[in-house]
Symmetry: C2
Subunit: 444 residues, 2 copies
């Protein structure tokens, strides 16, 4: 660093990217988001922290005036993180930024060491001959791109979900993948992987994109690559988890309620701000705002699901335990960036209703999309069981996969103005659907 | 994550933020940058890696046709990083993103634990009564802002350079600072700290900005904060380091040479791409390009200094060991973003020369600044000893302190087009100054 004059100190006042101050006061959504991230912290499925989150949620929902606040326990097959470390040993020593994937196999304390077999794509790994990875560490690269609607996560996410099991089937000692993410920071993206019955789990981790760039560059040079991978976490049965739900009763309790979902748990590397404290903040603040100017006809239920991140446990448990009918379901689980599009799964008979919703959102710059709404992981089992109508308020996902499942998923990443826009859009929708007297049906 | 349709897969082709391909082929500057970061890796002062960097530099400079390629050893008081860990223990458990500062004191393997005394500024720490920090961990916050000319680093950098020693003087068990940086990623910024003679070093670390935000938010809530800090690295005397320098001889060897500086060492968290492989890449490529169209009058010497990061050891050793006169010195050590400004330290008698340089740079959009050029840490001792003229090509520092001394200082952060603009600007200057036959003198 050269010696810098202080002459332009005035320029310095321009902006700071850190979160210092300027946080909204007395805002329900911000308070939930800030509370979950700062008073509870990360909320790993099945952890002591997730249990504290349920206690926090129970108290907060009661304080906000919700009725029928219920904490409903269940148990899960979880993953308890250990020590995550990886280092290049050859051709140069370098400490990699790595995270274990959920349900990874467990290494000894000193890790496992092996030569890297580099695969540019999942298809290249699939094409490797049986047994060709014996004693090797498979590295799976890919080329996920950013997209406003997040559509890269489906195909590229398969690298994380299926890659380690495919490598295990070909004899690999362990698997390391390029993070499923669109940023270029040294923060790896975690997430669950799956080993089907009959496949013995192998250690499976993800390195950050810059680390993957380095490995790819070395692989292109043709030099052999060796690495050590230490992932001491363990898959553990019978961990305690639970759901939290609460109601704002409508004027006509005989009518089926509106179900709003989010998830209370988070990955443990960050504090779960965009995934998914923001979702719980948005749906809850909007449910309350929809009461302003008069109690709606229908009950609104907020459902803060547990253990979504390791496979949607909370949503399935909720659907299995409850039979009361709902009129419509919605979910917020894609960050806190602005809502830009609305889609529906609604019968032709309810066209007037969906038209009214789209018309109410149009002045906010929210367009009606051509697709069909599907809800989210937490409400999906109820939607499937009851064949519910759904409204999706799609958030801008351009930057979502910069942060998703990383240490960087922290409160400072949420723009209070964008969070407020979400609450406003949800409130518009709720004021309409919760006051709809007639039946609301899903698309046939 | 909601189930996403693949409808917009076309949008996905828009852009990727990762470095995949598109690297320039056969470009001297890019090859040096890519080689140092990928074939050597991080180059901590006094480390085995820095020694490998010297071997690499010697071979590369010879291969590029430089003469008098010299590796000149010296020893330093270094810092050998150990295990860096920090966790909030209360009011919530949370694993912090932390790095030891260079010359930090050493904790036991199990770390040190204490209550946090929060100071919003360095001045607030200075005002704390003697002994008031006994048994406590001082946390020093601050509010560094981004600036195009990097001018925040002077005043805010004092938090890192002086804060730990000030806290030690008031009895603190350890010190943790908010990283001296302008980003909001979970990557802490390292850097050297200093304990004056008579002050026993205490463990000193920096946490990332989002971690500091969390600590500040908890501090505002009034809840007591406890943390564990484990920094097992050690200050070590007598570590081997060294400088590398090499010449492109001019037509008149009797004229004093032009000295171009950068530093070969780097911090160890990233691969030292912007700090300072880019600088060595820029000066070396420009020195070669200045030969095109005819050998210049004066010799150009490139000086790749060792152990800059722990206190400018290489620059001091070089100035102490060599007496040959130079005509002018320049340094590149502020990343690889575009050159936007030129400043001079040049005598009034050389006004025509500085005017010609400014005029040559003007078509590139580079403005002449009002300040006085100072060079950089590596050439400063020679400049002071010989009272040399200096030209500074100031790079845009708006984002420099997002990456500076972090794990994120990696090759992907350099834009090849901006690197090429630097080389072009340096080449313009060198073609003029290396062909100046008359004396070049510093500002009086």
């Amino acid at each position: 660093m050269r010696n810098l004059s202080c002459a332009a100190a005035l320029i310095a006042a321009l902006m700071s990217s850190t979160a210092h101050a300027q946080e909204p006061k007395g805002d329900v959504a911000w308070d939930i988001l800030s509370g979950l991230t700062s008073e509870v912290g990360p909320r790993m499925p099945g952890s002591e922290a997730e249990a504290r989150a349920r206690v926090w949620a129970d108290a907060r929902l009661k304080a906000l005036g919700f009725s029928n606040v219920t904490v409903e326990p269940f148990t899960i097959r979880g993953y308890v993180r250990g020590r995550d470390e990886a280092s290049l040993l050859a051709p140069i020593p370098f400490k990699l930024a790595v995270t274990a994937l959920g349900y990874s196999g467990t290494t000894p304390d000193k890790g496992v060491e092996g030569e890297v077999a580099y695969f540019p794509t999942l298809d290249a790994l699939k094409a490797a001959p049986a047994g060709s990875l014996n004693g090797k560490i498979a590295f799976i690269d890919h080329a996920m791109k950013r997209a406003q609607d997040g559509s890269g996560y489906g195909p590229y996410g398969a690298v994380r979900r299926q890659g380690p099991a495919i490598a295990a089937g070909k004899g690999a000692l362990a698997t390391v993948i390029r993070s499923i993410g669109t940023d270029n920071h040294r923060n790896p993206h975690t997430g669950g992987t799956t080993f089907p019955d009959g496949t013995k789990p192998i250690p499976a981790g993800a390195v950050s994109n810059p680390d993957a760039d380095l490995i790819a560059r070395i692989a292109r040079s043709g030099k052999p690559i060796r690495l050590n991978l230490t992932l001491t976490g363990k898959t553990t049965e019978g961990l305690p988890s639970g759901n939290v739900f609460a109601d704002l009763p409508g004027r006509d309790p005989s009518l089926p309620a509106i179900l709003l979902g989010c998830h209370l748990d988070s990955w443990d590397l960050g504090t779960g701000a965009i995934d998914d404290a923001a979702g719980c903040a948005i749906i809850t603040a909007a449910a309350l705002k929809a009461q302003e100017g008069g109690k709606p006809l229908r009950t609104i239920r907020v459902f803060w699901a547990g253990s979504e991140e390791l496979g949607g446990f909370g949503g399935r448990d909720f659907a299995a335990k409850h039979a009361e009918p709902y009129a419509l379901a919605m979910e917020s689980d894609f960050g806190a960036a602005k809502v830009w599009r609305v889609t529906f799964s609604m019968a032709e008979a309810n066209k007037a209703l969906s038209d009214r919703i789209a018309a109410a959102l149009s002045p906010m710059g929210i367009v009606r999309g051509p697709g069909t709404a599907s809800g989210g992981t937490d409400v999906a089992p109820v939607i499937a069981k009851q064949k519910l109508a759904v409204v999706d308020l799609d958030q801008d996902g351009t930057h979502y996969f910069d942060l998703h499942h990383t240490p960087d998923d922290t409160l400072d990443k949420v723009d209070p103005a964008e969070l407020a826009q979400n609450v406003a859009a949800w409130t518009e929708v709720l004021k309409i659907v919760a006051n709809e007297a007639g039946p609301i049906a899903a698309v046939e």
